[in-house]
C-alpha cells in the first residue's frame, strides 16, 4: 500500500504548453523574419528584451535535443557527428557540440532550418560560454558580444565590499555598452521601458522558482526532480516575460496546497536524495529506477539554482529566495538603474553562475546546507564528462560529504552525449549505493 497520497500536477500541461510555444515562436520568427537573438540561456536575456525579439537560448534547446534523441536519435546523433567531422573534439562541452552540430546541419530539432539570429549575446559564465557563441557567430556570420561576469565569491571567503563593488561596476558598465552596441548593429531603437519590465519579470520569476523549491522541503516532497526539470525550464526560456511570472505564481500556490494536503510527488517516498550535477537528459529514467527503491530526488544545486534567485541570509547562514526589485522597495526608472540592479542580481543571487567558476569551501558548504535543509538522506553525484562548468569541485564535494557522514556516491556520465553514459553501469552503482543504505527494491 502506498505511503502517501499523490496526484498529477495541475500546472504540468501549462508548462508543456509554454515550452512548446517558445520553440514555435522561434520557428515563426525565423519564417517571418522577426528578430531572433541567441546565446546561452544564462545570458542576461532581459537586455535584448529592450527590442521586440525572440530569444533562442542554447542550453534548453540542446537539452531538448538530447531528450528527444532517446526516441529518435537520427537528428541528435547527426548533430554530434557533424560537429566532430568539423573537428570539434569529442571531449568538449556536449551542449556546445550539439549546438554547433545543429547549426552546421542547418537543422532545427523542432522542424525546418536552423533559426539564424540577428546577433549572439552571451554571458561568460564558464570557460566554454564565451567561446561557444564566438564559434556560432563565426559560422553564422553574425555579430557577437559577450558580458564578462565575475561572480561574487562564496560567503565563506569574506570578499570585501570593495571587490564586490568593482565587479558590480565592471558588469554594469559592460551592460550599458552592450545596449549601445545592440542598437548599433541592429539599427533599431532600444526601449528602456521594455527592458525594465523584462528585468522585473526575470527577477520575479527567479524569486518565485526559489520559493517553489523551498516548498519542497516538505516531507513528502511535493515535486521530484524529474518534474522540476519541466518546471524550471520555463524560467530558463522566458523568465523575462509576464507569462513566466504568472506560471510560477500559479505553481507556487499549487505546491503550497499540495504541501498542506500532504500530496507527494512519489507515493512511496522513503529516501530523499539530492543529485549533484546536471541530469543525463537522454536517460532520465534513472529517476524511475531510484523510485524502485523508494528513493526520490528532491532536487539539486543545479535544479534549484539554474532558474532560481537566492539571497544569502547571514543571520541564518543560509540562502533564501531573493527579493525582486519591487518587493525590495526599489523602483527601476532608468536604464542605468536597471543595469545596476541587474548586474548585482546576477553576481549575487545566482548560485549556479557562482559555482561554475568558484567551488572550494563555499560550494561544499552550500551543498551541505541543501542536504540539511531539504532533509536529504544521501547524495548522488553525476560526474559530468560533458560539462567542465558543473564538474568544478565535484570530487571535493564527494570528499567533503563523506567526511561529514553523508552517504554519497558518484557515477560518471555525460549530460547530453549518450555515448558517454552507460545506463546499466549507473544502475549497478545505484544498486550498490542502496545496498550500503540497507535498502531493497520495494
Amino acid at each position: 500500500m502506498a505511503k502517501y497520497k499523490t496526484e498529477p500536477l495541475k500546472c504540468w500541461d501549462k508548462a508543456k504548453e509554454l515550452r512548446s510555444e517558445v520553440y514555435d515562436r522561434i520557428a515563426k520568427a525565423r519564417d517571418e523574419g522577426t528578430m531572433i537573438v541567441s546565446g546561452g540561456t544564462e545570458s542576461a536575456i532581459s537586455l535584448p528584451a529592450g527590442f521586440d525579439m525572440e530569444f533562442f537560448g542554447g542550453e534548453p534547446y540542446v537539452a531538448g535535443c538530447a531528450f528527444m534523441g532517446k526516441n529518435d536519435s537520427s537528428k541528435y546523433m547527426k548533430y554530434f557527428e557533424t560537429a566532430e567531422a568539423a573537428k570539434f573534439p569529442r571531449d568538449l562541452c556536449a551542449y556546445m557540440r550539439l549546438s554547433v552540430g545543429s547549426l552546421l546541419c542547418n537543422s532545427y530539432a523542432f522542424g525546418g532550418t536552423y533559426p539564424k539570429p540577428a546577433f549572439n549575446l552571451q554571458t561568460h559564465i564558464c570557460d566554454t560560454q564565451g567561446k561557444w557563441y564566438q564559434i556560432m557567430s563565426e559560422l553564422e556570420g553574425v555579430p557577437y558580444n559577450a558580458l564578462d561576469l565575475i561572480p561574487f565569491e562564496w560567503e565563506s571567503e569574506y570578499e570585501s565590499e570593495e571587490s564586490k563593488n568593482l565587479k558590480h561596476k565592471y558588469l554594469k558598465d559592460q551592460m550599458l555598452d552592450i545596449i549601445d552596441w545592440m542598437e548599433d548593429i541592429s539599427g533599431k531603437k532600444y526601449d528602456d521601458e521594455k527592458f525594465i519590465n523584462a528585468l522585473n519579470c526575470e527577477c520575479e520569476s527567479a524569486s518565485l522558482w526559489a520559493q517553489c523549491c523551498m516548498v519542497n522541503r516538505s516531507i513528502p516532497a511535493v515535486m521530484d526532480e524529474k518534474m522540476m526539470h519541466s518546471l524550471y525550464v520555463i524560467a530558463a526560456l522566458m523568465r523575462h516575460e509576464k507569462a513566466s511570472v504568472n506560471f510560477y505564481k500559479e505553481l507556487l500556490d499549487e505546491l503550497k496546497d499540495r504541501a498542506e494536503r500532504g500530496i507527494a510527488a512519489f507515493e512511496n517516498e522513503r529516501l530523499r536524495l539530492l543529485l549533484d550535477g546536471m541530469p543525463p537528459w537522454h536517460s532520465l529514467e534513472i529517476y524511475r529506477y531510484i523510485e524502485e527503491f523508494g528513493g526520490v530526488s528532491i532536487g539539486s544545486h543545479f535544479s534549484f539554482g539554474v532558474s532560481g534567485g537566492w539571497a544569502y541570509d547571514s543571520k541564518q547562514d543560509t540562502r533564501v529566495p531573493a527579493m525582486p526589485p519591487k518587493e525590495a522597495g526599489v523602483e527601476l526608472r532608468t536604464r542605468e538603474d536597471a543595469c545596476s540592479w541587474y548586474s548585482k542580481w546576477l553576481l549575487n543571487t545566482n548560485t549556479i553562475l557562482r559555482s561554475l567558476k568558484l567551488s572550494g569551501q563555499g560550494k561544499n558548504k552550500h551543498i551541505l546546507d541543501l542536504v540539511k535543509k531539504w532533509n536529504v538522506d544521501g547524495v548522488l553525484i553525476h560526474l559530468n564528462r560533458g560539462c567542465e562548468g558543473t564538474a568544478a569541485g565535484q570530487m571535493e564535494i564527494r570528499y567533503f560529504l563523506a567526511e561529514n557522514n553523508i552517504p554519497v556516491i558518484t557515477f560518471e556520465g555525460n549530460h547530453a552525449d549518450i555515448r558517454e553514459f552507460d545506463l546499466p553501469r549507473v544502475k549497478t552503482t545505484i544498486n550498490t549505493f542502496m545496498e550500503t543504505l540497507d535498502l531493497k527494491k520495494l
Partner: protein, 375 residues
C-alpha cells in the same frame, strides 16, 4: 651559461632551498598561471615562482579532480599534495582556466596554506577591464602589505616592474635571435630558459641572461646544419623529452605561442600612468590565451604573425588531453594557419609522453614539409 636553464629547471626545489638560505626574511609565493602580476610580488620583496608539473605518474589527485581535467592540472595538484612545494609561504592564482583553478582550490582545501586569488577579467577586450583590473590589483597589493608587513609604495612597484621587464626584454632579445637562418639557441633551451625564469629569482636570472646574450650566443649555432623551422603552439607544455625528440630529427623549433614560452614575456610595461595602472595595462595587452580571447578573435592573427616573422615551415600544436581552452580554439587556429600556408600537426599530450609513436608522426610531418619545399 645556457646550461643554467636546465640546471634550474631540473633542480627547482633545491634552487629555492638555497635561495631561502640566502634570503631567510623573504616570503615565497607559488602561482599557477602567467597572468599573475609578479611585479607586485617583487615590489612586496617576496619571490613569485610558477608551479609546474613533475611529469611523473601519480595517484593522489584522483580523489580531488575528475579524470577529465587536463593532465597538467592534475600533475600540478599532485605536486602540492605530495608536499613537493611545502616550502611555499603562499599560493596565488588569477582567473585562469577551470582545470588549473580546480588544482588551486583543492590544494588550498587540503594544504592549509595562505592563498591569494585575484579575480582578474576573463576578457581584456572591453575598455572596462582596465579600471576593473587596476582595482583588483590594488586590493591584491593591500593584502600583500598585510602579509609581508611592509608598505608598498610607487617606487617599490617601479622596482618590481624594472626587475620583471628586464627579464622580458632579455628573453625577447634572445627570441629575436632565433629569426636568423641558424638560430643560436634550440627550441628546447629556449623553453628551459622561459620556465627557469618562472622558477627563479629574476634579479639573479637577469645576470645569467645578460651573460648568455653577451658571451655565449654570438656566433653560436644550435644545429650544425639548417633544418626545418617549426613553431610550437598549444597548451602548457614543458616536456623536455618530446622537444628533444623533435629537435633530434631534422628540425628546429624557432618560435612558440605557449605560456611556458613567448606568451609569458612578450610585452613589457608601458610606463604612462601610475604604476598599478601601467601594470594592469601590461596584462590587458598581453597576447591572449584562448579563454581570454573573445568576443573578437585576436589570437589567430598573433599566431600567424609569429609564424610569418620567424619564417617557419610548419606548426606543431601540442595540446594537453582534455584541455578545453585550446580545444575550443583548435578549429579556428588550424584554419587560420592553413590559410596562411602553414601546415599544422595536432598532437595530444599527457603528463608523460610516449616519445616513440610521436616520433613517427613528427617524422611524417617533416617529410610533408620537405616534399613541399621541393616544388
Amino acid at each position: 651559461m645556457i646550461e643554467s636553464f636546465k640546471r634550474i629547471y631540473d633542480n627547482r626545489h633545491e634552487y629555492i632551498g638555497k635561495w631561502k638560505e640566502k634570503h631567510p626574511d623573504r616570503k615565497i609565493m607559488g602561482y599557477m598561471c602567467t597572468s599573475m602580476p609578479e611585479e607586485i610580488i617583487y615590489a612586496a620583496n617576496a619571490l613569485p615562482i610558477r608551479i609546474l608539473g613533475g611529469h611523473e605518474s601519480q595517484n593522489v589527485s584522483q580523489q580531488h579532480m575528475m579524470g577529465t581535467f587536463c593532465p597538467f592540472s592534475r600533475d600540478v595538484l599532485a605536486q602540492g599534495l605530495l608536499g613537493k612545494y611545502d616550502y611555499l609561504d603562499a599560493l596565488g592564482i588569477t582567473h585562469t582556466c577551470q582545470h588549473i583553478y580546480q588544482a588551486y582550490e583543492s590544494w588550498v582545501l587540503h594544504k592549509n596554506i595562505k592563498s591569494f586569488y585575484i579575480p582578474t577579467p576573463n576578457t581584456s577586450q572591453t575598455p572596462h577591464a582596465l579600471p576593473y583590473l587596476r582595482g583588483q590589483l590594488k586590493l591584491f597589493l593591500e593584502k600583500l602589505e598585510d602579509w609581508t608587513g611592509r608598505k608598498i609604495g610607487e617606487n617599490d612597484l617601479r622596482r618590481g616592474i624594472e626587475i620583471v621587464d628586464t627579464t622580458r626584454k632579455l628573453m625577447k632579445q634572445i627570441y629575436e635571435m632565433r629569426k636568423s637562418e641558424s638560430p643560436p639557441i634550440s627550441g628546447l633551451d629556449s623553453m628551459l630558459m622561459v620556465v627557469a625564469a618562472q622558477m627563479s629569482d629574476k634579479e639573479e636570472f637577469n645576470t645569467i641572461l645578460e651573460d648568455v646574450i653577451k658571451n655565449e650566443l654570438p656566433g653560436r649555432k644550435a644545429k650544425a646544419t639548417p633544418s626545418s623551422r617549426l613553431m610550437l603552439i598549444g597548451s602548457e607544455h614543458d616536456d623536455v623529452k618530446f622537444i628533444e625528440m623533435v629537435e633530434n630529427l631534422d628540425a628546429i623549433i624557432v618560435i612558440d605561442d605557449h605560456c611556458t614560452g613567448s606568451r609569458y614575456f612578450w610585452n613589457t610595461t608601458e610606463q604612462n600612468e601610475d604604476a598599478l595602472t601601467d601594470i594592469a595595462n601590461r596584462y590587458i595587452k598581453k597576447p591572449p590565451c584562448p579563454i581570454k580571447d573573445f568576443p573578437v578573435r585576436k589570437r589567430t592573427a598573433h599566431i600567424v604573425n609569429l609564424a610569418n616573422e620567424w619564417n617557419v615551415a610548419g606548426v606543431i600544436e601540442i595540446q594537453q588531453k582534455f584541455c578545453d581552452p585550446h580545444e575550443l580554439d583548435r578549429v579556428a587556429v588550424s584554419k587560420a594557419l592553413e590559410k596562411a600556408g602553414f601546415p599544422i600537426l595536432n598532437l595530444e599530450a599527457d603528463v608523460t609522453m610516449p616519445v616513440g609513436p610521436f616520433r613517427i608522426r613528427v617524422e611524417a610531418f617533416l617529410e610533408i614539409l620537405s616534399s613541399e619545399e621541393l616544388f
